[in-house]
Every structure is written in C-alpha cells, then in structure tokens.
C-alpha cells in the first residue's frame, strides 16, 4: 500500500511549544528524511476526535497517530471500524490488534530535572505547576519530588495544579499566577507540566528573575538563561518511529514503554542553558541517569498505585 501517514493532535494544537509540537516535529523529520508527506488535523473540541480519526481512516491514511490520552474512547471505536488501518496512540494504552500504544516513563525524566532543580535552588524551595489534575501529571510531579528529595532531603516542593478541565492546558495567566504565588513562598525554581499554561509559568519565572523548567519539547530557548532545563518527552521520536514502521511495513501493535533506557525521556542541555548547569550539577544528574538505567534507583510511578511516597 502507498504510505499515507497522519497525525491528529490534542486540544493544545500543533504548535503548543510542548507535547503536540513534539509529534509535529517527529512527523516533519520523517517528511524531511523520506520525502513522504503527512496530513495532520487539530481538533477544536472533544466531539471531533472520533470524526477526525474516522475521516483519516476513510481517506485511506495509515498509520494514524493520535496524540494524547483523550483519544482513548474515540480510537477504540474507530479502530474497531477500520481493522485494516494502523493506529498509534500516545500516553494511553488501547488494546486492539491494529493499535500501537506508546507510553513514557515521565517519572524518570522528571526525577532528573528534580535533581537539577534541587541543586540550582538557593532557597531549597522549588515549585511544580501542573496542567490538568490527572494521574499522568501527578506522575510528573511525583518523579520530580523524588529527584528533589533524593538530592536535598530537606528541600520543600510546592505543587499546584492549574485546573481540572481541558482549559487547564491553555491558561497561561493562571499558570503565571500560580508560579508567582510559589515564588512568594520562596521558591526559586519552578517546573511545569502544563502544556500552553506552562508558557505563563516560564514567563513568570523569567519576569521574576527565577528559573523555570520546561517540559516535553526543549523549551530552553523560550527565555534563554532563564530556563534551567527541559524535561524531554520524545513524542517526536515516538511519532517518527511509528511513521517509519509504517513505511517499512513493520507496524507493531501493542504497548511500547519509553523510559530513560529507551531514550524516550531525558533532559535538555544546549547553548541556552549551559551557563546555568555547573559541572557539579551535570555530574549529579549524569549519575542519577546512570543509576536509573542500571536499575539501582527506581523512580516511583504514581500511576501504579495512585500514591507518591516521597
């Protein structure tokens, strides 16, 4: 069959500087590498998820990458209707013979930036601003706290969630306010896992002369010198791999878990933040990374028991 890959983004949209943008970058890279064009679609409301997937399938696209756990129900339905089309979903497990599920060990990446945050903090107080309050984001938070506490056991971590609905992903003003309230309480580094809302968090950090930590994509460049690092969640790699497998006729259904060892998560070091990362910090985070890969340090997965032991 001729190769017609497609991506359906989540509500944040293709250019959210974060999660969805990762998928877009992966698809773009695939296009650049192979010359094969792809089609993508930004939904505007929940009702369109099913319609978008069905339209892609009807038009003969395959593989189709659904970006985000919210596609679960829609994908279940549509995948059953189109058994010969290949689908992939990110951040969620959908069990169907024609669906590949890709999930990440966000806790591991978050642990690493937690280590960096603890070392960079002068006040021994750091913050976390989540987007929508869901188990997935708690998993980020928990890994982060783990990293901080492992580095400075006395450090304090403030946690805020922006909201409980989809809008929590796109409310930068609120994100900024939450970050400021954490700065007021003494925090000097704040990590966000809040999609578009996080733009406000990083902005507030930059405005206040504190440090932010980006998420998903490399956000170091948003405020050079003001973003300590970014927790990378390689949605781009995942998307690329799905497309590539589709091209090679090697589509593999089932669950793929991408952690540190698999290169699915990590932290970003580039020109924008290299002045912020001291050699000691780099050494510490490299060690933590090695420990996790080796299995000597196990980062707790919040979603395994809905609890965070740190």
């Amino acid at each position: 069959a001729d190769d017609k890959p497609a991506v359906a983004y989540d509500l944040g949209g293709r250019n959210d500087k974060s999660f969805n943008e990762g998928a877009f970058m992966g698809a773009e890279k695939f296009k650049a590498d192979t010359g094969i064009a792809f089609k993508d679609f930004e939904i505007q409301n929940d009702g369109q998820r099913e319609q978008a997937l069905r339209k892609f399938a009807e038009a003969g696209f395959s593989p189709i990458v659904a970006v985000g756990y919210s596609y679960e129900q829609a994908l279940k339905k549509v995948a059953a209707e189109f058994p010969n089309t290949h689908f992939a979903i990110i951040d969620m497990v959908v069990e169907a013979p024609n669906v590949a599920s890709i999930v990440f060990k966000e806790q591991e990446g978050s642990y690493l930036v937690g280590v960096l945050a603890a070392l960079a903090s002068k006040t021994d107080k750091v913050g976390f601003v989540g987007g929508m309050d869901i188990p997935l984001i708690r998993r980020f938070a928990c890994g982060y706290v783990g990293g901080v506490k492992a580095t400075k056991s006395g450090a304090e971590v403030f946690q805020n969630m922006t909201g409980t609905t989809g809008e929590a992903w796109s409310d930068p003003a609120k994100g900024g306010e939450l970050a400021k309230s954490q700065f007021d309480r003494g925090a000097d580094v704040v990590y966000h896992a809040a999609g578009g809302t996080g733009i406000g968090v990083l902005q507030a950090a930059a405005d206040a002369g504190k440090l932010g930590i980006g998420v998903d994509s490399n956000q170091n460049g948003l405020h050079p010198g003001k973003v300590l690092t970014s927790m990378l969640k390689r949605v781009d790699v995942a998307t690329y791999n799905v497309f590539k497998a589709g091209q090679d006729g090697a589509f593999k259904p089932g669950v793929t878990v991408l952690g540190l060892a698999e290169g699915g998560v990590g932290w970003a070091l580039d020109d924008n933040n290299k002045a912020l990362i001291t050699p000691e910090m780099k050494a510490a985070v490299d060690k933590a990374e090695a420990d996790i890969k080796a299995g000597t340090v196990k980062v707790h997965d919040y979603m395994s028991d809905s609890a965070c032991p740190y």
Partner: protein, 370 residues
Amino acid sequence: MSGPSRELPRWVDIGLIPFVNLSAAFLVTGLVFLAIGESPVDSVIIMLNGAFGYGTGLGYTLFYTTNFIFTGLAFAVAFHAGLFNIGAEGQAYLGGLGVALVCLSLGFLPMVIIIPLAIIAAALFGAAWAFIPAYLQAKRGSHVVITTIMFNFIASALMIYLLVNVLSPKGSMNPETRTFDPNAHLPLIHDVLAGLGMAVARSPLNLSFIWALVCAVAVWLLLWHTTLGYQLRVLGANPSAAAYAGMKPQRLIVIAMMISGGLAGFLALNEIMGASNRLLLQFTAGYGFVGIAVALMGRSHPFGIVLSALLFGALYQGGADLSFEKPTITRDMIVVVQGLIILFAGALEHMFRPQIARFFASSWFKAKEA
C-alpha cells in the same frame, strides 16, 4: 377602515427578510475568507459537499441539526413567553447529568425502559436547572438574562466538580464517566436502518433526531393549539393582558422556563446517550448559545427552527470538512460564520426591513393604481 397596509406580505416577513439577512452574513463571511487568502467559492463547494455530498457527512449534518433543534426550541418556548433564556447551555449540561445517572445506574434494564427514563431525566434535570432563575424572575424580579448567564457558569463548575471527584472512574485521565452499557446507547440510525435492510453510511446520527422532530411538532401544538400555549404567548406579547385575563404570570414564567430547560436538556440525549455514550466535560460546546440564533432565524416557529437548525447543522459539518480539507482554515472560521449569522439575522434583523418595506409599499401602490 383601511386594510393591513403597513403589513409586509407574510412570505416577505418569514422568507425574504431572513434570506436577505443571511445573505449579508455570508457576504461578510466571504470577505473574511478572502482576507485569509482562501477562495470563498471553493470553500462553499467543499462545505456543501461536506454537509450533504456523502452519507457520513449528511449523517453528521443531521446529527448537529438535532442539537440545534433542541436548543432552538428551548429558546423559542421561553421567548414566546417573553423570557430571554440564554441558559440553555447550562440546562443542557445538567440534562446530561440526568441522562448519565439513568444510563449508568440502570444500564441493565432493557432499552425500551431506559430510553423513556433517560428522556424524563434529561427533561427533569434541564428543567430543574431552569427553575431557579425562573423562580427568581417570577418571585423576586431578578432578570432571567443575567441569572441564566450566571447559571451557565455555575453549572459548568458543578459538572466539573462532579465529573472530576464523583463520576469519573478511579485512575482515569479524563474527567468523564465510564462508557454506558450497550442497553443504554440510543440506537444509531445506520444500525436501525441496517436492521431494516437498508445500508447507510455510519455516523453518530441517532434516534434522538426523530425525537427532536417530535418535539418540534409538540412545541407547535403546545404554543398554538393548547390553552397553556395560548397563555404563554399572551404573557410574552402583553404581560398586563395576561394578568387582566386572570392568568398566573408567575406560574407561567416558571412553566415556560421549565419547558425551555427541559428541551435544552434533550441535547444530552443526542450527545451523551446517542453519540459519546458517556458523560464528558463541555459536551454542550456552545450549542445552547447557537440555539438563540437558530430560533431567531426560524422566527421562533418550530418549523422555521427545524429549517434553520438544518442550516446550522450543515454549517457545522461542512465547516468541519472544510477545516479538514484546508489546513489554513480552522474550525474557528465556523464560529465566525455563526457569529455573523447571529449578528445579521438576530441583532441587525431590522437593518434591511425599511428598504424592503419601502420597495413593497411602492410596488403595492403601483399594483393598486394599475
């Protein structure tokens, strides 16, 4: 004694003027298309094809139409009673809660029992949410426009709370309920027709479409063929006359708003019980507000409402296809078009009337003198 000289012919009033208003809205829309560098003509073709050109598209069009019939009727009933209910959004939201509670808790019952129960629940919950603003308007004179706006927001907060903290299964990422048992799914039209040996394309179009048409007829009968409807219309046209005639305005206000809220609640039958089969956040997606435009376009008459709901349904579905085909056009464009229609067909409905009236007055004269 002269005849009805100031009157415009009826077809002008309910046909030509809305058509002219609509054309103005589409004209401006065309300009917006040009402004973003898209051909309006191409876009219209894509939209028409998307809305009517193939089975699934038509199914979606009618699916959206169903929503608009419900919210349009909801607005119209209150409007005839002189009440401006812009709370359909919240009432529909609560209607969803009613439907979900029935479907979640009674999913083991046979479908023939669940469906009427869900209809009742949708109406009751929607009506209950309309009751408070109605009561406050009737007894305390708080303006229903403002209170229903406030109640939209309160409904939203309440539903978020319930979905996040009470209704969503543990460990789930989305604040939404589990999927209902199959018995509690409204049959999809394509499944029903398949059962009858007719193959039509898949779409979320479901039995609530029929229910919407039934409601339209029922509203028509209610308003123009029952004493209650008569009283509601008197209340709307001349509240003092209603008091003079011994009607109970306070009670009528509450009744009108509750009927309105109940109709809005039916939106949930289509969206929740028919399409998504689970209760989710913000499923009302602005349909309640668009209902105002639908009703105004349809001159607050059920049959007009069905037609204008079809127009808005086509716009929705055609717009979805358009944004799918043309990456530069987002769904927001459809929001713009809706806004323009509301503006021209609603707020500016009198703009072209004097000119049209003058035209007819003059040709009237000519005909008379000839």
